[in-house]
């Protein structure tokens, strides 16, 4: 059954075997950032050589999960986030992965607010993988679920305040004055007319005992949080100097390209590498659990070698599966009741008794994440452990998976996080697929190796957003108000078979399959309702895709509510407002969007508008899309977007993430579709797995609801409402209800 606390606690208890804190790592052969980080960690342990804040944070927001589950002892580990060097530079260690969402800027803003440093001197580095950097709610180091800002907001402010307190104490001692007479100002401790640079007292501050308690600023006193602030990674990313995983180069490194199963579930019988080995530049060919890897001096030789392999696969039973056969099976299942996720009253009786019943079957396809940077991972296995260079969202899980593959301890897996060329969930894999495979290639070849996927490998490589079918029925009373609501969902669980299953699947319900449907805010006003679920299994691997379950439930629920409004002959905005609780944050977002759009005002000939509102990841987003159709193509001219995400750290980030979420969702609404034929994915690259391009980008206006409510996320919540907003606009324009994605109007 659905429980309100499942959203944030879902992964929480999964550190079943918490790793011991990393010992200070000091190894040879590391230069630049790597050595700096290791020194830093060592310093953190020794509390010497510049101020390092070891911030002891109880895992306060970790929420208990299943009743009866053994209580976990949250290991209290030092979290190290700030380094102040004698030259007065401030380096903030980012435990989250920067993949475009802006944490490289917004989280340092949170630290700097309390630290009182000079923003222009702030530098940022990805933190190493270590228990100190565990997600405060999920218990493992990771970036996902649109959680980064709220989960570290108190932790990072506290770290900043502790540092400031210690620096002031050290400076006061040096000046022979009382600390309460001193204040922090732009990287200096100020007493009267005297100023001491942070860097000059950093060593002394590091030797002081940690303050037992620090007072955080009140929101009204914030000078950085809430102010539009430009990104700190712009220079690197506009000059080609930002290092992504694919750019990593290590001594004596080879590049590998892997031949993987062409059909999901296929097994390799034999292979012949003669032709591959004859390609100039190819050095080695090794078999790994996922296929056959060709190692070469550079990518081009490795790819040519891979393409020259002769492989004999046992394709297995899935080779007969097509999208049409799968869709038929899903529709058949959708006609029967599934495992209940949320139930109230007697839905079937209410439907039978009703005079006005609305019904629809909705379908969405498999989708690849297709981040711009193809998957890749560099691995060097040494006597003392394994080094991994990659852009990952899942350091805590990756450490465990790599350790398991090599028979070593998680703390012997040193993950060097680079910038991610997009993540969207694909780089947070419970099986660590692209990382574990690279480890297998390095292990089998006894080489330092960078495994690089081609775009075709990425599109064919599985871990898709699942295909979903939903059947909805609603009974309306004489006033058009729903008296019964039935929603049957069919689709693969992304959690089943992963280590998270025991925590996240309860009573047969994967919470991520029904989120946005079982907790729909409309259900409270509908006396009889039932949301149930079928979770068929298949060899097709599936994964969270930007906004996870909301990527299908928002489309279905918000389109179907529009159908109900039409059947009730009511305005879609008024109909939703009447169904939503009076204090619902969805209403605030809807009202702001409607006001800014001018809902109800006349539009140009041939244009129509549609709206949708949806909560995901504790943020409430309403979008109104203005569309037209010409030459069989949908054109989205304008999108007005209003978000209530609680307190905002960086408005520029919120705006960027709303634009981004809308573009990502529009790609799926207008183009994105993976189809199966003979058990194979038919699409292969951006010519047939089409993504939104610049001429199709609507003018997006983002408005933030002033809010002091609970802080939510913004990396994902912009995505769910756009497909239903566009679909509802198309219905208003054409009178034809489109119930499957991508929209086809021709």
């Amino acid at each position: 059954m659905w429980r309100e606390d499942m959203k944030r606690s879902d992964i929480a208890m999964h550190a079943e075997t918490p790793s011991p804190p990393n010992p200070p790592l000091e190894r040879e052969g590391l230069k630049g950032d790597g050595l700096e980080r290791r020194r830093f960690l060592k310093n953190s342990a020794l509390a010497a050589g510049g101020l390092v804040i070891a911030c002891f944070m109880p895992v306060a927001v970790r929420r208990a999960l299943a009743e009866g589950a053994p209580a976990t002892k949250a290991p209290v580990s030092p979290n190290a986030f700030i380094r102040i060097a004698p030259d007065n530079s401030v380096t903030i260690l980012l435990k989250h992965s920067e993949m475009g969402q802006g944490v490289w800027t917004s989280l340092p803003m949170v630290v700097a607010e309390e630290l009182g440093c000079d923003w222009s001197t702030v530098r940022v580095e990805h933190a190493p993988a270590a228990p100190e950097y565990a997600h405060t709610a999920f218990g493992l180091q990771m970036t996902g679920g649109s959680t980064s800002t709220w989960e570290s907001f108190d932790q990072l402010r506290t770290a900043g305040a502790m540092a400031r307190t210690l620096l002031i104490a050290a400076a006061a001692a040096k000046l022979g004055v009382n600390a309460v007479e001193c204040r922090a100002e732009k990287g200096h401790v100020v007493h009267g007319k005297r100023r001491i640079r942070y860097g000059d007292v950093a060593d002394a501050a590091a030797k002081l005992p940690m303050p037992a308690d620090v007072k955080l600023k009140e929101a009204k006193d914030w000078t950085i949080i809430g102010k539009p602030t430009r990104r700190l990674d712009s220079l690197a990313k506009t000059t080609g100097t930002a290092e992504f995983g694919i750019d990593v180069k290590r001594p004596d490194m080879l590049v590998a390209v892997v031949a993987r199963a062409p059909v999901f579930g296929a097994k390799l019988r034999t292979f012949d590498a003669t032709k591959a080995k004859a390609v100039a530049g190819v050095v080695d060919v090794v078999q790994v659990p996922s296929g056959v890897a060709v190692l070469a001096k550079h990518f081009w030789a490795a790819k040519k070698g891979r393409d020259a392999l002769v492989l004999d696969w046992d394709e297995g039973a899935f080779a007969s599966v097509t999208t049409a056969s799968l869709r038929e099976e899903y529709r058949r299942r959708a006609a029967t009741a599934g495992t209940p996720a949320k139930v109230a009253g007697d839905v079937e009786s209410a439907l039978k008794a009703a005079g006005n019943v609305v019904e629809g079957v909705y379908e969405v396809p498999f989708l690849a994440h297709a981040p711009m940077e193809p998957l890749n991972c560099t691995v060097a296995i040494g006597a003392d452990g394994c080094d991994v260079w990659t852009g990952t969202q899942f350091q805590g899980v990756d450490q465990m998976n790599v350790a398991k593959a090599l028979g070593i301890k998680p703390e012997q897996v040193r993950i060097h996080t680079t910038f991610l060329g997009g993540g969207f969930g694909r780089r947070a894999n419970p099986a660590s697929d692209f990382i574990a495979e690279a480890v297998q290639v390095a292990k089998a070849s006894k080489r330092t190796v960078k495994v690089v996927w081609t775009r075709e490998d990425d599109i064919h490589g599985g871990y898709y957003r699942p295909m979903w079918t939903s059947r909805l029925r609603a009974a309306l009373d004489k006033d058009g108000k729903p008296t019964a609501w039935s929603h049957t969902i069919v689709g693969q669980s992304i959690i089943e078979g992963t280590p998270f299953a025991s925590a996240m699947i309860k009573d047969g319900i994967d919470a991520t399959s029904v989120e946005g449907a079982a907790d729909s805010p409309y259900l409270a006003a509908i006396p009889a309702h039932r949301v149930d679920l079928h979770s068929p299994t298949s060899p097709v691997t599936v994964l969270w895709w930007r906004s996870v379950g909301h990527s299908h439930t928002a489309f279905v629920v918000e389109s179907f509510v529009d159908e109900c409004a039409h059947a009730a002959k009511q305005d879609p905005l008024a109909y939703r407002r009447a169904l939503l609780p009076k204090d619902a944050r969805e209403r605030r977002a809807l009202d702001l969007a409607a006001d800014k759009f001018g809902w109800g005002n006349p539009l140009p000939d041939g244009h129509a508008a549609g709206l949708a509102v949806h909560q995901s990841f504790d943020s409430y987003v309403a979008q109104i899309a203005e569309v037209s159709v010409a030459d069989g193509k949908v054109r989205v001219h304008r999108v007005v977007c209003a978000i209530d995400c609680g307190p905002v750290v960086n408005p520029l980030t919120v705006e960027a993430q709303m634009q981004s979420g809308i573009a990502y969702g529009l790609s799926a609404a207008l183009h994105g579709e993976l189809t199966l034929k003979s058990g194979r994915i038919e699409q292969s690259n951006f010519h047939d797995y089409v993504a939104l391009r610049l001429p199709e980008m609507p003018k997006v206006e983002v408005h933030i609801v002033p809010s002091t409510d609970k802080m939510g996320g913004c990396g994902e919540p912009g995505t769910p409402p756009i497909a239903p907003a566009v679909g509802n606009a198309l219905f208003a324009l054409t009178g034809k209800r489109l119930r499957s994605l991508p929209f086809r109007v021709a």
């Binding site: 920067e98 993949m99 475009g100 802006g102 430009r230 990104r231 990674d233 712009s234 220079l235 690197a236 990313k237 506009t238 000059t239 080609g240 100097t241 930002a242 290092e243 992504f244 694919i246 750019d247 180069k249 590049v255 100039a280 550079h298 990518f299 081009w300 297709a370 981040p371 711009m372 940077e373 193809p374 910038f419 991610l420 060329g421 997009g422 993540g423 969207f424 690089v452 081609t454 775009r455 075709e456 520029l652 960027a656 634009q659 981004s660 979420g661 809308i662 573009a663 990502y664 690259n685 951006f686 010519h687 993504a691 939104l692 391009r693 610049l694 001429p695 980008m697 003018k699 997006v700």
Partner: protein, 157 residues
């Protein structure tokens, strides 16, 4: 083969079919130019060949011999080309992976059309994919770059 990249001569030992992209990245070590699709669909690999934007993932390196190759690393010494400055001011980047290609396409556009219209931008930038959806800020930044170039005397290439 001999290549001239950002004004510097390079002697590389590459097979005849090796695309310029991989020669730049794996043999010369200029990794600012990105691999995204390998079939001229995404534009992440865009560089200039004698000032013209080309997709280096499908152009054999031999075809670039004897021509002036400019990559993102050669656009300016310190990130101050008008397009780079406009990108920074407008806060365009997100993950940043496609942006080398976006910037090279925009710089080539402005060299051709110093005051591009929205339609010019649509045409010139349609071949550059961005999965983060930075398109709206790209559009603003191209206009801003045109202003910056005008203030700086009109040189964008």
């Amino acid at each position: 083969m001999k290549l001239v990249v950002n004004g510097q001569p390079h002697e590389v030992d590459a097979p005849a079919d090796m695309p310029l992209l991989w020669v730049l990245r794996d043999l010369i070590g200029l990794t600012g130019t990105k691999f995204g699709c390998g079939m001229a669909q995404c534009g992440a690999c865009t560089v200039h060949l004698d000032g013209q934007p080309i997709r280096s993932c499908v152009m054999p390196a031999v075809a670039a011999a004897g021509k002036a190759i400019t990559t993102i690393e050669g656009l300016s010494k310190d990130g101050t080309h008008p397009v780079q400055r406009a990108w920074q001011e407008t806060d365009v980047v997100q993950c940043g992976y496609c942006q080398s290609g976006q910037i090279m396409s925009a710089a080539a556009l402005l060299a051709q059309k110093p005051q591009p219209s929205d339609a010019d931008i649509d045409t010139a930038m349609a071949g550059n994919l961005c999965r983060c959806g930075t398109y709206q800020r790209i559009r603003s930044a191209v206009h801003r770059a045109a202003e910056l170039a005008k203030e700086g005397g009109g040189h964008v290439a």
